[in-house]
Protein backbone atom coordinates (compact mmCIF):
# COMPACT_ATOMS: atom_id res chain seq x y z
CA UNK A 1 0.00 0.00 0.00
CA UNK A 2 1.30 3.42 -0.85
CA UNK A 3 1.65 6.24 1.66
CA UNK A 4 -1.14 8.09 -0.14
CA UNK A 5 -3.52 5.21 0.37
CA UNK A 6 -2.58 4.90 4.02
CA UNK A 7 -3.10 8.59 4.64
CA UNK A 8 -6.40 8.51 2.81
CA UNK A 9 -7.59 5.57 4.93
CA UNK A 10 -6.51 7.34 8.10
CA UNK A 11 -8.38 10.52 7.13
CA UNK A 12 -11.55 8.62 6.34
CA UNK A 13 -11.18 6.37 9.38
CA UNK A 14 -11.00 9.40 11.66
CA UNK A 15 -14.10 11.07 10.25
CA UNK A 16 -16.09 7.83 10.17
CA UNK A 17 -14.99 7.11 13.75
CA UNK A 18 -17.26 9.95 14.89
CA UNK A 19 -20.14 8.11 13.22
CA UNK A 20 -18.99 4.85 14.81
CA UNK A 21 -19.05 6.48 18.26
CA UNK A 22 -22.68 7.35 17.54
CA UNK A 23 -23.42 3.76 16.57
CA UNK A 24 -21.64 2.64 19.74
CA UNK A 25 -24.09 4.69 21.84
CA UNK A 26 -27.18 3.11 20.28
CA UNK A 27 -26.00 -0.47 19.72
CA UNK A 28 -23.81 -0.93 22.75
CA UNK A 29 -24.69 1.62 25.42
CA UNK A 30 -28.46 1.63 24.87
CA UNK A 31 -28.46 -1.89 23.43
CA UNK A 32 -30.82 -0.70 20.69
CA UNK A 33 -30.31 -1.47 16.99
CA UNK A 34 -30.95 1.96 15.46
CA UNK A 35 -31.05 2.00 11.66
CA UNK A 36 -31.87 5.69 11.32
CA UNK A 37 -28.09 6.18 11.04
CA UNK A 38 -28.18 5.70 7.24
CA UNK A 39 -30.50 8.69 6.96
CA UNK A 40 -29.05 10.95 9.63
CA UNK A 41 -25.56 10.64 8.11
CA UNK A 42 -26.86 12.10 4.84
CA UNK A 43 -28.95 14.64 6.76
CA UNK A 44 -25.75 15.99 8.30
CA UNK A 45 -23.98 15.94 4.94
CA UNK A 46 -26.89 17.73 3.26
CA UNK A 47 -26.98 20.56 5.81
CA UNK A 48 -23.23 20.79 5.61
CA UNK A 49 -23.25 21.15 1.81
CA UNK A 50 -26.06 23.67 1.70
CA UNK A 51 -24.61 25.85 4.46
CA UNK A 52 -21.07 25.65 3.09
CA UNK A 53 -22.40 26.77 -0.26
CA UNK A 54 -23.86 29.82 1.44
CA UNK A 55 -20.57 30.52 3.24
CA UNK A 56 -21.04 29.05 6.77
CA UNK A 57 -18.94 25.87 6.80
CA UNK A 58 -18.19 25.90 10.55
CA UNK A 59 -21.72 26.75 11.64
CA UNK A 60 -22.81 23.95 9.28
CA UNK A 61 -21.14 21.37 11.51
CA UNK A 62 -23.09 22.52 14.58
CA UNK A 63 -26.37 22.66 12.70
CA UNK A 64 -25.74 19.20 11.25
CA UNK A 65 -25.21 17.85 14.77
CA UNK A 66 -28.49 19.36 15.95
CA UNK A 67 -30.36 18.07 12.89
CA UNK A 68 -29.03 14.59 13.67
CA UNK A 69 -30.24 14.96 17.27
CA UNK A 70 -33.69 15.76 15.88
CA UNK A 71 -33.67 12.67 13.67
CA UNK A 72 -32.63 10.47 16.60
CA UNK A 73 -35.40 11.94 18.75
CA UNK A 74 -37.98 10.95 16.14
CA UNK A 75 -36.79 7.34 16.22
CA UNK A 76 -36.85 7.39 20.01
CA UNK A 77 -40.38 8.78 20.12
CA UNK A 78 -41.63 6.24 17.56
CA UNK A 79 -40.26 3.52 19.80
CA UNK A 80 -41.13 4.79 23.28
CA UNK A 81 -44.43 6.60 22.70
CA UNK A 82 -45.90 4.60 19.83
CA UNK A 83 -44.37 1.28 20.94
CA UNK A 84 -42.90 0.53 17.51
CA UNK A 85 -40.01 -1.96 17.64
CA UNK A 86 -36.60 -0.27 17.58
CA UNK A 87 -35.61 -1.83 14.24
CA UNK A 88 -38.77 -0.72 12.50
CA UNK A 89 -38.73 2.71 14.15
CA UNK A 90 -35.23 3.24 12.76
CA UNK A 91 -36.24 2.08 9.29
CA UNK A 92 -39.22 4.45 9.27
CA UNK A 93 -37.02 7.40 10.23
CA UNK A 94 -34.44 6.38 7.65
CA UNK A 95 -37.08 6.25 4.93
CA UNK A 96 -38.62 9.57 5.93
CA UNK A 97 -35.16 11.13 5.99
CA UNK A 98 -34.54 10.11 2.39
CA UNK A 99 -37.28 12.49 1.25
CA UNK A 100 -36.30 15.09 3.82
CA UNK A 101 -32.65 14.98 2.75
CA UNK A 102 -33.68 15.64 -0.85
CA UNK A 103 -35.68 18.63 0.36
CA UNK A 104 -32.69 19.96 2.30
CA UNK A 105 -30.59 19.54 -0.85
CA UNK A 106 -33.11 21.60 -2.80
CA UNK A 107 -34.44 18.68 -4.78
CA UNK A 108 -31.03 17.73 -6.22
CA UNK A 109 -29.72 14.20 -5.77
CA UNK A 110 -26.16 15.45 -5.36
CA UNK A 111 -24.29 18.66 -4.62
CA UNK A 112 -20.66 19.21 -5.62
CA UNK A 113 -18.71 21.58 -3.38
CA UNK A 114 -15.76 22.25 -5.67
CA UNK A 115 -14.61 25.85 -5.38
CA UNK A 116 -16.92 26.44 -2.42
CA UNK A 117 -15.69 27.50 1.01
CA UNK A 118 -15.32 24.52 3.31
CA UNK A 119 -13.63 24.28 6.69
CA UNK A 120 -10.77 22.62 4.87
CA UNK A 121 -10.36 25.27 2.21
CA UNK A 122 -10.17 27.83 5.04
CA UNK A 123 -7.75 25.81 7.19
CA UNK A 124 -5.48 24.98 4.25
CA UNK A 125 -4.53 28.64 4.18
CA UNK A 126 -3.38 28.53 7.82
CA UNK A 127 -0.25 26.91 9.26
CA UNK A 128 -1.98 23.53 9.00
CA UNK A 129 -1.69 23.56 5.22
CA UNK A 130 -2.29 20.23 3.53
CA UNK A 131 -2.49 18.46 6.86
CA UNK A 132 -5.77 20.18 7.70
CA UNK A 133 -7.76 17.25 6.31
CA UNK A 134 -6.15 15.03 8.90
CA UNK A 135 -5.72 17.39 11.83
CA UNK A 136 -9.09 19.16 11.95
CA UNK A 137 -11.21 15.95 11.92
CA UNK A 138 -8.79 14.44 14.44
CA UNK A 139 -9.29 17.43 16.74
CA UNK A 140 -13.07 17.15 16.38
CA UNK A 141 -12.91 13.40 17.00
CA UNK A 142 -10.75 13.74 20.12
CA UNK A 143 -13.04 16.46 21.44
CA UNK A 144 -16.08 14.22 20.88
CA UNK A 145 -14.28 11.30 22.50
CA UNK A 146 -13.45 13.38 25.55
CA UNK A 147 -16.93 14.86 25.86
CA UNK A 148 -18.59 11.48 25.39
CA UNK A 149 -16.31 9.87 27.96
CA UNK A 150 -16.97 12.62 30.49
CA UNK A 151 -20.69 12.48 29.74
CA UNK A 152 -20.83 8.73 30.35
CA UNK A 153 -19.28 9.38 33.76
CA UNK A 154 -21.99 11.83 34.83
CA UNK A 155 -25.14 10.87 36.68
CA UNK A 156 -27.13 11.08 33.45
CA UNK A 157 -24.46 9.06 31.67
CA UNK A 158 -24.66 6.35 34.34
CA UNK A 159 -28.39 6.09 33.83
CA UNK A 160 -27.94 5.92 30.05
CA UNK A 161 -25.55 3.00 30.40
CA UNK A 162 -27.77 1.27 32.92
CA UNK A 163 -30.80 1.62 30.63
CA UNK A 164 -29.02 -0.45 27.99
CA UNK A 165 -28.00 -3.01 30.58
CA UNK A 166 -31.26 -3.33 32.42
CA UNK A 167 -34.16 -0.96 31.85
CA UNK A 168 -36.27 -2.67 34.53
CA UNK A 169 -33.75 -1.63 37.14
CA UNK A 170 -33.65 1.94 35.90
CA UNK A 171 -37.43 2.28 36.11
CA UNK A 172 -37.41 0.62 39.52
CA UNK A 173 -35.01 3.35 40.60
CA UNK A 174 -37.40 6.08 39.60
CA UNK A 175 -36.09 7.13 36.19
CA UNK A 176 -38.22 7.56 33.08
CA UNK A 177 -36.41 5.30 30.61
CA UNK A 178 -38.30 6.88 27.69
CA UNK A 179 -36.48 10.17 28.25
CA UNK A 180 -33.17 8.39 28.65
CA UNK A 181 -33.63 6.60 25.31
CA UNK A 182 -34.54 9.93 23.70
CA UNK A 183 -31.37 11.58 24.96
CA UNK A 184 -29.24 8.61 23.93
CA UNK A 185 -30.58 8.31 20.39
CA UNK A 186 -30.45 12.08 19.88
CA UNK A 187 -26.80 12.14 20.89
CA UNK A 188 -26.03 9.09 18.80
CA UNK A 189 -27.54 10.49 15.62
CA UNK A 190 -26.06 13.90 16.34
CA UNK A 191 -22.59 12.37 16.15
CA UNK A 192 -23.53 10.44 13.01
CA UNK A 193 -24.74 13.63 11.31
CA UNK A 194 -21.61 15.50 12.38
CA UNK A 195 -19.55 12.77 10.76
CA UNK A 196 -21.62 13.09 7.57
CA UNK A 197 -21.11 16.85 7.63
CA UNK A 198 -17.33 16.46 7.81
CA UNK A 199 -17.26 13.86 5.04
CA UNK A 200 -19.28 16.18 2.79
CA UNK A 201 -16.78 19.02 3.20
CA UNK A 202 -13.74 16.76 3.10
CA UNK A 203 -14.80 15.10 -0.15
CA UNK A 204 -16.46 18.23 -1.53
CA UNK A 205 -19.41 16.18 -2.57
CA UNK A 206 -22.78 15.03 -1.25
CA UNK A 207 -24.97 12.37 -2.76
CA UNK A 208 -28.39 11.46 -1.38
CA UNK A 209 -27.42 7.77 -1.49
CA UNK A 210 -24.12 8.14 0.37
CA UNK A 211 -25.61 6.85 3.63
CA UNK A 212 -26.56 3.40 2.37
CA UNK A 213 -25.05 0.77 4.64
CA UNK A 214 -23.59 3.37 6.99
CA UNK A 215 -24.99 1.57 10.04
CA UNK A 216 -23.20 -1.60 8.94
CA UNK A 217 -19.92 0.27 8.57
CA UNK A 218 -20.40 1.76 12.05
CA UNK A 219 -21.19 -1.63 13.49
CA UNK A 220 -18.20 -3.19 11.72
CA UNK A 221 -15.95 -0.55 13.30
CA UNK A 222 -17.41 -1.16 16.75
CA UNK A 223 -17.03 -4.93 16.51
CA UNK A 224 -13.56 -4.92 14.92
CA UNK A 225 -12.48 -2.53 17.67
CA UNK A 226 -13.88 -4.80 20.37
CA UNK A 227 -12.31 -7.94 18.94
CA UNK A 228 -8.88 -6.43 18.31
CA UNK A 229 -8.50 -3.88 21.11
CA UNK A 230 -10.69 -5.21 23.91
CA UNK A 231 -13.54 -3.99 26.09
CA UNK A 232 -11.97 -3.77 29.53
CA UNK A 233 -12.72 -0.21 30.59
CA UNK A 234 -15.07 2.40 29.23
CA UNK A 235 -12.26 4.60 27.88
CA UNK A 236 -10.65 1.62 26.23
CA UNK A 237 -13.93 0.67 24.59
CA UNK A 238 -14.36 4.15 23.14
CA UNK A 239 -10.79 4.22 21.84
CA UNK A 240 -11.30 0.73 20.42
CA UNK A 241 -14.24 2.05 18.37
CA UNK A 242 -11.98 4.69 16.84
CA UNK A 243 -9.18 2.25 16.09
CA UNK A 244 -11.77 -0.16 14.70
CA UNK A 245 -12.95 2.51 12.30
CA UNK A 246 -9.42 3.16 11.03
CA UNK A 247 -8.74 -0.55 10.73
CA UNK A 248 -11.94 -1.00 8.77
CA UNK A 249 -10.78 1.66 6.28
CA UNK A 250 -7.45 -0.12 5.92
CA UNK A 251 -9.21 -3.40 5.19
CA UNK A 252 -11.31 -1.68 2.52
CA UNK A 253 -8.22 -0.01 1.04
CA UNK A 254 -6.51 -3.38 0.93
CA UNK A 255 -9.49 -4.94 -0.80
CA UNK A 256 -9.35 -2.22 -3.45
CA UNK A 257 -5.60 -2.59 -3.75
CA UNK A 258 -5.83 -6.27 -4.62
CA UNK A 259 -8.20 -5.39 -7.43
CA UNK A 260 -11.68 -5.66 -5.99
CA UNK A 261 -14.12 -3.43 -7.90
CA UNK A 262 -15.43 -0.54 -5.70
CA UNK A 263 -18.99 -1.68 -6.39
CA UNK A 264 -18.27 -4.83 -4.34
CA UNK A 265 -17.37 -2.87 -1.22
CA UNK A 266 -20.81 -3.08 0.39
CA UNK A 267 -20.66 -6.82 -0.05
CA UNK A 268 -17.30 -6.83 1.73
CA UNK A 269 -18.71 -4.71 4.58
CA UNK A 270 -21.65 -7.05 5.04
CA UNK A 271 -19.36 -10.08 5.08
CA UNK A 272 -17.01 -8.46 7.61
CA UNK A 273 -19.89 -7.70 9.98
CA UNK A 274 -21.41 -11.15 9.54
CA UNK A 275 -18.08 -12.80 10.34
CA UNK A 276 -17.38 -10.50 13.28
CA UNK A 277 -20.88 -11.08 14.71
CA UNK A 278 -20.46 -14.83 14.32
CA UNK A 279 -17.05 -14.80 16.01
CA UNK A 280 -18.19 -16.23 19.38
CA UNK A 281 -20.02 -19.12 17.66
CA UNK A 282 -17.16 -19.80 15.28
CA UNK A 283 -14.70 -19.90 18.18
CA UNK A 284 -16.93 -22.32 20.07
CA UNK A 285 -17.32 -24.64 17.06
CA UNK A 286 -13.60 -24.57 16.34
CA UNK A 287 -12.69 -25.48 19.88
CA UNK A 288 -15.21 -28.35 19.79
CA UNK A 289 -13.71 -29.67 16.56
CA UNK A 290 -10.25 -29.35 18.05
CA UNK A 291 -11.25 -31.23 21.18
CA UNK A 292 -12.77 -34.06 19.14
CA UNK A 293 -9.62 -34.23 17.04
CA UNK A 294 -7.44 -34.41 20.16
CA UNK A 295 -9.57 -37.15 21.69
CA UNK A 296 -9.38 -39.21 18.51
CA UNK A 297 -5.62 -38.82 18.26
CA UNK A 298 -5.29 -39.78 21.88
CA UNK A 299 -7.34 -42.95 21.29
CA UNK A 300 -5.33 -43.90 18.25
CA UNK A 301 -2.04 -43.53 20.09
CA UNK A 302 -3.16 -46.02 22.71
Amino acid sequence: MTFMVLQGSLELGIIYAIMALGVFISFRTLNMPDLSVDGSFVLGAAFSAVMSSSGHPFLALGIAFLAGCGAGSITALLHTKLKIQPLLAGILTMLALYSLNLKVMGGRANIPLMNKTTVFSILEKTALGDNSKLIFPLAVLLLMLLLLYLFLKTRLGFVLRATGDNDHMVRALGVNTDSVILIGLALSNGLVALSGALIAQSQSFVDVGMGIGMVVIGLASVIIGEVVFGVKTLLRRLIAVILGSVLYRLIIAFALEIGMPPTDLKLVSAVIVAIAMAMPIIKKRLSAVKRRFMVRRHERSK
Binding site: F158, A162, M169
Partner: protein
Amino acid sequence: MLRVEGLRKKFGQGSNNEKLALAEINLSLQEGEFVTIIGGNGAGKSTLLNCISGVYEIDEGKITLDTVDITFDPEYKRSKYIGRVFQDPLRGTAYDMTIEENLAIALAKGKPLGLMPGVTKKETTLFKERLELLDLGLENRIKQKVGLLSGGQRQALTLLMATIVKPKLLLLDEHTAALDPTIARKVLHLTRKIVAEEKLCTLMITHNMKASLEFGTRTIMMHEGKIMMDLQGQERSNMTVDRLIEQFEKRSGAELDNDRMLLS
Protein backbone atom coordinates in the same frame (compact mmCIF):
# COMPACT_ATOMS: atom_id res chain seq x y z
CA MET B 1 -49.40 3.73 54.84
CA LEU B 2 -50.38 1.55 51.87
CA ARG B 3 -54.05 1.07 50.97
CA VAL B 4 -55.27 -1.18 48.22
CA GLU B 5 -59.02 -1.02 47.64
CA GLY B 6 -61.12 -3.22 45.35
CA LEU B 7 -58.20 -4.09 43.13
CA ARG B 8 -59.03 -6.18 40.03
CA LYS B 9 -56.67 -7.20 37.25
CA LYS B 10 -57.46 -9.26 34.15
CA PHE B 11 -54.94 -10.49 31.59
CA GLY B 12 -55.83 -11.05 27.93
CA GLN B 13 -59.15 -9.19 28.15
CA GLY B 14 -61.52 -10.50 25.49
CA SER B 15 -59.24 -13.26 24.23
CA ASN B 16 -60.04 -16.91 24.89
CA ASN B 17 -57.30 -17.23 27.46
CA GLU B 18 -58.65 -14.37 29.52
CA LYS B 19 -57.43 -14.71 33.08
CA LEU B 20 -58.66 -12.94 36.17
CA ALA B 21 -55.37 -12.66 38.07
CA LEU B 22 -56.61 -10.46 40.92
CA ALA B 23 -60.27 -10.82 41.86
CA GLU B 24 -60.94 -8.29 44.58
CA ILE B 25 -58.01 -7.33 46.74
CA ASN B 26 -58.41 -5.14 49.79
CA LEU B 27 -55.30 -4.63 51.84
CA SER B 28 -54.10 -2.03 54.27
CA LEU B 29 -50.62 -1.74 55.74
CA GLN B 30 -49.72 0.27 58.81
CA GLU B 31 -46.49 2.19 59.12
CA GLY B 32 -43.55 -0.18 59.67
CA GLU B 33 -45.61 -3.32 59.07
CA PHE B 34 -43.69 -6.25 57.51
CA VAL B 35 -46.10 -8.53 55.68
CA THR B 36 -45.14 -11.89 54.20
CA ILE B 37 -47.24 -13.28 51.33
CA ILE B 38 -47.62 -16.96 50.51
CA GLY B 39 -49.78 -18.90 48.07
CA GLY B 40 -49.61 -21.47 45.30
CA ASN B 41 -48.23 -20.95 41.84
CA GLY B 42 -50.39 -18.54 39.84
CA ALA B 43 -52.21 -17.26 42.93
CA GLY B 44 -51.60 -13.67 41.82
CA LYS B 45 -48.86 -12.71 44.28
CA SER B 46 -46.48 -11.25 41.71
CA THR B 47 -49.35 -9.58 39.89
CA LEU B 48 -50.36 -7.85 43.13
CA LEU B 49 -46.87 -6.46 43.61
CA ASN B 50 -46.63 -5.49 39.95
CA CYS B 51 -49.94 -3.62 40.20
CA ILE B 52 -48.76 -1.76 43.28
CA SER B 53 -45.45 -0.83 41.65
CA GLY B 54 -47.12 0.21 38.39
CA VAL B 55 -45.67 -2.43 36.07
CA TYR B 56 -49.27 -3.27 35.13
CA GLU B 57 -52.20 -0.89 34.77
CA ILE B 58 -55.12 -2.09 36.87
CA ASP B 59 -58.68 -2.63 35.69
CA GLU B 60 -60.49 -1.51 38.83
CA GLY B 61 -59.64 -0.23 42.27
CA LYS B 62 -57.55 2.37 43.96
CA ILE B 63 -54.03 2.38 45.39
CA THR B 64 -52.91 5.00 47.90
CA LEU B 65 -49.47 5.33 49.39
CA ASP B 66 -49.02 7.63 52.36
CA THR B 67 -52.42 9.26 51.57
CA VAL B 68 -51.38 10.02 47.96
CA ASP B 69 -53.44 8.36 45.22
CA ILE B 70 -50.89 6.64 42.94
CA THR B 71 -53.36 4.54 40.94
CA PHE B 72 -52.59 6.30 37.67
CA ASP B 73 -48.93 7.18 38.17
CA PRO B 74 -46.48 5.53 35.77
CA GLU B 75 -44.05 2.95 37.12
CA TYR B 76 -41.03 5.23 37.23
CA LYS B 77 -42.87 7.88 39.25
CA ARG B 78 -44.04 5.43 41.90
CA SER B 79 -40.55 4.00 42.08
CA LYS B 80 -39.43 7.19 43.77
CA TYR B 81 -41.28 5.96 46.87
CA ILE B 82 -41.11 2.22 46.35
CA GLY B 83 -38.06 -0.02 46.64
CA ARG B 84 -38.09 -3.35 44.83
CA VAL B 85 -36.11 -6.57 44.70
CA PHE B 86 -37.08 -9.15 42.08
CA GLN B 87 -36.81 -12.92 42.05
CA ASP B 88 -34.31 -12.91 39.19
CA PRO B 89 -30.93 -11.67 40.48
CA LEU B 90 -30.18 -10.36 36.97
CA ARG B 91 -33.08 -7.93 37.11
CA GLY B 92 -32.03 -5.69 39.95
CA THR B 93 -28.62 -4.50 38.81
CA ALA B 94 -26.76 -3.34 35.70
CA TYR B 95 -24.25 -6.13 35.09
CA ASP B 96 -21.84 -4.19 32.90
CA MET B 97 -21.40 -1.42 35.47
CA THR B 98 -19.43 -1.42 38.68
CA ILE B 99 -20.88 -1.92 42.17
CA GLU B 100 -20.16 1.71 42.90
CA GLU B 101 -21.88 2.92 39.73
CA ASN B 102 -24.96 0.81 40.47
CA LEU B 103 -25.20 2.22 43.98
CA ALA B 104 -24.73 5.74 42.66
CA ILE B 105 -27.78 5.36 40.41
CA ALA B 106 -29.75 4.05 43.39
CA LEU B 107 -28.64 6.94 45.58
CA ALA B 108 -29.70 9.43 42.90
CA LYS B 109 -33.30 8.23 43.18
CA GLY B 110 -35.63 11.21 43.30
CA LYS B 111 -32.80 13.67 42.63
CA PRO B 112 -32.47 15.59 39.36
CA LEU B 113 -30.52 13.85 36.61
CA GLY B 114 -27.86 16.00 35.08
CA LEU B 115 -24.25 16.46 34.19
CA MET B 116 -22.95 16.31 37.76
CA PRO B 117 -20.30 13.67 38.45
CA GLY B 118 -21.89 10.22 38.54
CA VAL B 119 -20.20 9.35 41.81
CA THR B 120 -18.21 11.46 44.25
CA LYS B 121 -15.53 10.51 46.81
CA LYS B 122 -17.96 11.20 49.65
CA GLU B 123 -20.49 8.84 48.11
CA THR B 124 -17.88 6.14 47.67
CA THR B 125 -17.16 6.33 51.40
CA LEU B 126 -20.86 6.01 52.16
CA PHE B 127 -21.15 3.00 49.82
CA LYS B 128 -18.23 1.27 51.51
CA GLU B 129 -19.82 1.79 54.92
CA ARG B 130 -23.13 0.38 53.75
CA LEU B 131 -21.54 -2.55 51.93
CA GLU B 132 -19.60 -3.46 55.05
CA LEU B 133 -22.91 -4.03 56.83
CA LEU B 134 -23.75 -6.73 54.27
CA ASP B 135 -20.73 -8.66 55.50
CA LEU B 136 -19.97 -10.08 52.05
CA GLY B 137 -16.66 -8.35 51.45
CA LEU B 138 -18.17 -6.26 48.66
CA GLU B 139 -16.72 -3.07 50.16
CA ASN B 140 -13.35 -4.12 48.74
CA ARG B 141 -14.73 -4.80 45.26
CA ILE B 142 -16.48 -1.50 44.69
CA LYS B 143 -14.80 -0.90 41.30
CA GLN B 144 -15.63 -4.37 40.00
CA LYS B 145 -18.45 -5.05 37.57
CA VAL B 146 -21.64 -6.46 39.02
CA GLY B 147 -21.56 -9.17 36.35
CA LEU B 148 -18.81 -10.82 38.40
CA LEU B 149 -20.98 -11.24 41.51
CA SER B 150 -22.86 -14.38 42.52
CA GLY B 151 -26.66 -14.44 42.68
CA GLY B 152 -26.69 -14.01 46.44
CA GLN B 153 -24.27 -11.12 46.36
CA ARG B 154 -26.37 -9.45 43.70
CA GLN B 155 -29.57 -9.84 45.70
CA ALA B 156 -27.89 -8.37 48.77
CA LEU B 157 -26.65 -5.49 46.64
CA THR B 158 -30.10 -4.98 45.09
CA LEU B 159 -31.59 -4.91 48.58
CA LEU B 160 -29.14 -2.22 49.56
CA MET B 161 -29.90 -0.31 46.36
CA ALA B 162 -33.65 -0.55 46.99
CA THR B 163 -33.28 0.93 50.48
CA ILE B 164 -30.31 3.30 50.28
CA VAL B 165 -32.82 6.09 49.72
CA LYS B 166 -35.45 5.21 52.32
CA PRO B 167 -38.58 4.07 50.44
CA LYS B 168 -42.11 4.38 51.81
CA LEU B 169 -42.73 0.82 50.73
CA LEU B 170 -40.44 -2.13 50.06
CA LEU B 171 -41.64 -4.86 47.68
CA LEU B 172 -39.81 -8.19 47.62
CA ASP B 173 -40.92 -10.82 45.10
CA GLU B 174 -39.39 -14.18 46.12
CA HIS B 175 -36.04 -12.45 46.21
CA THR B 176 -34.35 -15.51 47.73
CA ALA B 177 -36.01 -18.20 45.57
CA ALA B 178 -33.15 -18.41 43.07
CA LEU B 179 -30.45 -18.73 45.76
CA ASP B 180 -29.13 -21.82 47.45
CA PRO B 181 -30.49 -22.36 50.97
CA THR B 182 -27.59 -21.01 53.05
CA ILE B 183 -27.29 -17.83 51.00
CA ALA B 184 -31.07 -17.49 50.92
CA ARG B 185 -31.12 -17.52 54.72
CA LYS B 186 -28.40 -14.94 54.87
CA VAL B 187 -30.27 -12.61 52.53
CA LEU B 188 -33.46 -13.12 54.55
CA HIS B 189 -31.70 -12.15 57.77
CA LEU B 190 -30.21 -9.17 56.03
CA THR B 191 -33.70 -8.20 54.86
CA ARG B 192 -35.00 -8.40 58.40
CA LYS B 193 -32.14 -6.28 59.68
CA ILE B 194 -32.58 -3.53 57.09
CA VAL B 195 -36.37 -3.50 57.42
CA ALA B 196 -36.12 -3.22 61.21
CA GLU B 197 -33.45 -0.55 61.20
CA GLU B 198 -35.23 1.66 58.70
CA LYS B 199 -38.72 0.72 60.01
CA LEU B 200 -39.80 -0.02 56.44
CA CYS B 201 -43.32 -0.88 55.42
CA THR B 202 -42.67 -4.15 53.55
CA LEU B 203 -44.48 -6.72 51.41
CA MET B 204 -42.45 -9.90 50.93
CA ILE B 205 -43.57 -12.80 48.76
CA THR B 206 -41.91 -16.03 49.79
CA HIS B 207 -42.10 -19.64 48.67
CA ASN B 208 -40.82 -20.70 52.06
CA MET B 209 -43.70 -21.41 54.48
CA LYS B 210 -41.49 -21.46 57.50
CA ALA B 211 -39.87 -18.16 56.60
CA SER B 212 -43.30 -16.63 56.08
CA LEU B 213 -44.06 -17.18 59.78
CA GLU B 214 -40.56 -16.59 61.06
CA PHE B 215 -40.01 -13.24 59.36
CA GLY B 216 -42.25 -10.20 59.44
CA THR B 217 -45.19 -9.19 61.58
CA ARG B 218 -48.12 -10.42 59.52
CA THR B 219 -48.77 -13.17 56.97
CA ILE B 220 -51.18 -13.18 54.06
CA MET B 221 -52.14 -16.21 52.05
CA MET B 222 -53.40 -15.81 48.50
CA HIS B 223 -55.35 -18.16 46.25
CA GLU B 224 -56.89 -17.55 42.82
CA GLY B 225 -56.45 -13.80 43.01
CA LYS B 226 -57.95 -13.42 46.47
CA ILE B 227 -56.60 -13.05 49.98
CA MET B 228 -57.61 -16.29 51.75
CA MET B 229 -56.09 -15.72 55.12
CA ASP B 230 -54.66 -12.78 57.04
CA LEU B 231 -52.68 -13.78 60.10
CA GLN B 232 -51.41 -11.39 62.72
CA GLY B 233 -50.81 -11.07 66.45
CA GLN B 234 -51.46 -14.02 68.75
CA GLU B 235 -53.04 -16.13 66.03
CA ARG B 236 -49.88 -15.83 63.97
CA SER B 237 -47.44 -16.52 66.77
CA ASN B 238 -49.32 -19.73 67.56
CA MET B 239 -49.32 -20.88 63.92
CA THR B 240 -47.17 -23.75 62.67
CA VAL B 241 -46.31 -24.70 59.08
CA ASP B 242 -48.41 -27.88 59.29
CA ARG B 243 -51.46 -26.05 60.57
CA LEU B 244 -50.94 -23.36 57.95
CA ILE B 245 -51.09 -25.96 55.17
CA GLU B 246 -54.09 -27.63 56.72
CA GLN B 247 -55.90 -24.28 56.98
CA PHE B 248 -55.04 -23.46 53.39
CA GLU B 249 -56.39 -26.71 52.04
CA LYS B 250 -59.56 -26.41 54.09
CA ARG B 251 -60.30 -22.84 53.03
CA SER B 252 -59.34 -23.12 49.37
CA GLY B 253 -60.50 -26.68 48.76
CA ALA B 254 -57.27 -27.20 46.83
CA GLU B 255 -54.01 -28.93 47.47
CA LEU B 256 -50.93 -26.84 47.92
CA ASP B 257 -48.31 -27.48 45.23
CA ASN B 258 -45.71 -28.78 47.63
CA ASP B 259 -42.99 -29.26 44.99
CA ARG B 260 -42.25 -25.62 44.70
CA MET B 261 -43.15 -24.59 48.21
CA LEU B 262 -40.47 -25.07 50.78
CA LEU B 263 -42.08 -26.43 53.87
CA SER B 264 -39.09 -26.34 56.13
